[in-house]
């Protein structure tokens, strides 16, 4: 098992390398020099200062050398300084150690995605299993319809509708940000509720689409498994149906779901751009969007790379989950 993990880790290295290469090339193949935007902001900049700036970013060297130098820096997680007016180090903007954990951008994005994940798993597995065991029932058909709508629903539109209904019309939930303006003045319980109430809509929206897909997938995987011989054997030896489904069938039906979850990580991280922009959540996705709009190259390269790394970590976790769930993989070692 340990050897398998090491092998998977080693396999990740070329992919990681490729991710950094693509993040680098996208920025550098774009027309104009990355420092143009910096000098445009300050028209009074002298040619000498511009030259110094270009030296600093090694723009006077061939692209391949620039990439090497950049790679050398980012190994130490030094992604350089942001081009925005605050000129803070890029990493500090994503993970500001001076701020409480709950306010760090990367943490906010991870937190929302992890809560979403937990909810998707907790709901889609039982839904998928019960749709499969009640195949073609009214319940199954209702679920199938919901799933199709969930697939087709543009998340940002659904967000607007819910904001209109719960935020504007009923006035029950806040529609923007992560905490209220008077947050600091609230008592502890009030603070906790304030945080939670700001998260309800975003988490619901981001869970909805995944919920549809995963429960559908769980259903077909379960349908496939209950046709297998070992399930018939379990039934034949007189095991109660509950035990057959939840003990013998479920475990095998879960395997493809784990793969699917690993594959859905990049979509979720990418989706946080839309979600955080709609709800005004100060996370990494929102920062990425702002950086793209202001052409803050170091910031964009950094978040692209981090997004890729998070995907790899997600895939690795899915592999570990697969290994824990499937004794055959462990036995192969």
């Amino acid at each position: 098992m340990f050897a398998y993990l090491i092998k998977r880790l080693l396999e990740m290295i070329p992919t990681l390398f490729g991710i950094t290469l693509i993040s680098f090339l996208i920025i550098h193949l774009a027309p104009g020099k990355p420092t143009d935007i910096l000098t445009e902001l300050n028209p009074k900049i002298t040619p000498e200062a511009r030259e110094r700036l270009e030296k600093m970013y090694n723009l006077d060297k061939p692209v391949i050398v620039q990439y090497g130098l950049w790679l050398k820096r980012i190994v130490k997680l030094n992604f350089g300084e942001s081009f925005s007016t605050d000129r803070r180090p890029v990493m500090q903007k994503i993970w500001d150690k001076k701020q409480p954990l709950l306010d760090r951008r990367l943490f906010i994005t991870l937190m929302i995605n992890l809560i979403t994940f937990a909810i998707i798993l907790a709901i889609s597995i039982p839904i998928g299993v019960s749709s499969a065991t009640h195949q073609n029932s009214l319940y199954d058909k209702m679920m199938t319809t919901t799933v199709f709508i969930g697939f087709a629903m543009p998340s940002f539109w659904f967000a607007l509708l819910l904001m209109m209904f719960f935020g504007v019309y009923l006035g029950w939930l806040p529609i923007s940000g992560l905490k209220s303006l008077n947050y600091d003045a609230l008592p502890l319980l009030g603070k906790i509720w304030d945080r939670i109430s700001h998260l309800i809509l975003p988490v619901f929206i981001s869970a909805f689409g995944g919920l549809a897909g995963d429960s559908r997938f769980m259903r077909s995987s379960m349908l496939e498994v209950v046709r297998q011989d070992y399930v018939t054997v379990a039934r034949a030896k007189g095991l109660p149906e509950k035990k057959v489904i939840y003990k013998h069938a479920l475990r095998n039906a879960l395997l493809p779901l784990i793969t699917l979850i690993g594959l859905s990580v990049p979509g979720m991280i990418g989706g946080s751009v839309i979600l955080e922009s709609v709800f005004g959540i100060p996370g990494m996705g929102q920062l990425f969007f702002m950086s793209v709009m202001t052409r803050d190259y170091p910031m964009v390269m950094c978040i692209l790379t981090i997004g890729g790394m998070l995907t790899l970590v997600g895939n690795l976790l899915a592999d570990i989950g697969y290994m824990l769930a499937d004794p055959r993989i462990r036995a192969r070692q």
């Binding site: 070329p14 992919t15 490729g18 991710i19 693509i22 993040s23 996208i26 920025i27 774009a30 027309p31 199709f148 709508i149 697939f151 087709a152 629903m153 543009p154 998340s155 940002f156 539109w157 659904f158 607007l160 509708l161 904001m163 209109m164 504007v168 529609i175 594959l263 990049p266 979509g267 991280i269 990418g270 989706g271 751009v273 839309i274 922009s277 709609v278 990425f288 969007f289 793209v292 709009m293 052409r295 964009v300 978040i303 692209l304 997004g307 890729g308 995907t311 790899l312 895939n315």
Partner: protein
């Protein structure tokens, strides 16, 4: 009784599923709407009427007006053109790239296969939406550029599919026979192998259109896709967000159009996939 040809079986199975058929009909209707937009839209999509801004739906403006007094129904109708053309061109690009790389990878194998597969892994590891945003940041957000960028970031599924098909077909006798007769590789790949694996590619293209429509509308919604005054469902929704407290119709209707379109393509694609899957063919057919 009709012959049991693949085409007949497919068509009968496709029709049998009413939802699939409904999806297909809506897709056709959407095409008609897009095609006939100049004739059926009650107003010109960019006719500004400052006396009637942000008006709720009424007989005169069935879906209301926006912040410049433009008729929302007309803009939604014209938006169909944008959505469908982006969907088709983007998927066209993705399918061409996917077939090329998938076929080369599957047919030649070896180091080319390793490199292409590794490249696909890398592309799949970077969150697609991040990638699209990063590229769009540096180019002009014109509709052509958006089509190209969506196409360039969504070919990986097709490539994997084609590779698997080629791998399973390239050792068949008829392919080996063609090879023995001295047919050129290009000929074998396209005339003998690809022709027999077009069906799954077609299904994934139909589903891909749904995805491309969603991405385009998301980009336009964020304000970096199709730029106003060109109407697109996404950029009307962008206005809807700015006026969320006063003009619900700006948010509801264009979103509904996206939902219905994407739903129809998905239903059609899924139905086609089921119809093509011999494992699901019943005895009665």
């Amino acid at each position: 009784m009709k012959a049991h040809s693949l085409k007949n079986v497919f068509w009968r199975r496709f029709k049998k599923n009413r939802l699939t058929l409904a999806g297909g009909i809506v897709v056709l209707l959407m095409f008609l709407v897009a095609l006939l937009a100049p004739f059926i839209s009650p107003y010109k999509p960019d006719d500004i009427d400052r006396k009637h801004i942000l008006e709720a739906p009424s007989p005169k403006h069935p879906l209301g007006t926006d912040d410049l007094g433009r008729d929302v129904l007309s803009r939604v109708i014209w938006g169909a053109r944008i959505s469908l053309s982006v969907g088709f061109v983007a998927v066209g690009i993705a399918v061409v790239i996917g077939i090329m790389l998938g076929a080369v990878s599957g047919y030649y194998g070896g180091w080319m296969d390793s490199i292409i597969m590794r490249f696909i892994d890398i592309m799949l590891s970077i969150p697609t939406f991040f990638l699209i945003l990063a590229v769009i940041a540096f180019i002009e957000p014109s509709i052509w550029n958006i089509m190209i960028v969506i196409g360039l970031t969504s070919w990986m599924g097709v490539a994997r599919l084609v590779r698997a098909e080629v791998l399973s077909l390239k050792e068949r006798e008829y392919v080996l026979a063609a090879k023995a007769l001295g047919a050129a590789d290009v000929n074998i790949i396209f005339r003998h192998i690809m022709i027999n694996s077009m069906a799954p590619v077609f299904v994934s293209a139909v589903l891909g259109i749904a995805g491309a429509v969603l991405i385009e509308s998301a980009l336009s919604f964020l304000g970096i896709g199709v730029q106003p005054p060109t109407p697109s469902w996404g950029n009307i929704l962008n206005l809807g967000k700015d006026n969320i407290e006063i003009a619900w119709w700006l948010s509801v209707f264009p979103g509904l159009a996206i939902l219905i379109t994407v739903l129809s393509y998905n239903l059609m694609g899924e139905g086609m996939r089921d119809a093509l899957d011999p494992r699901l063919w019943d005895v009665e057919i």
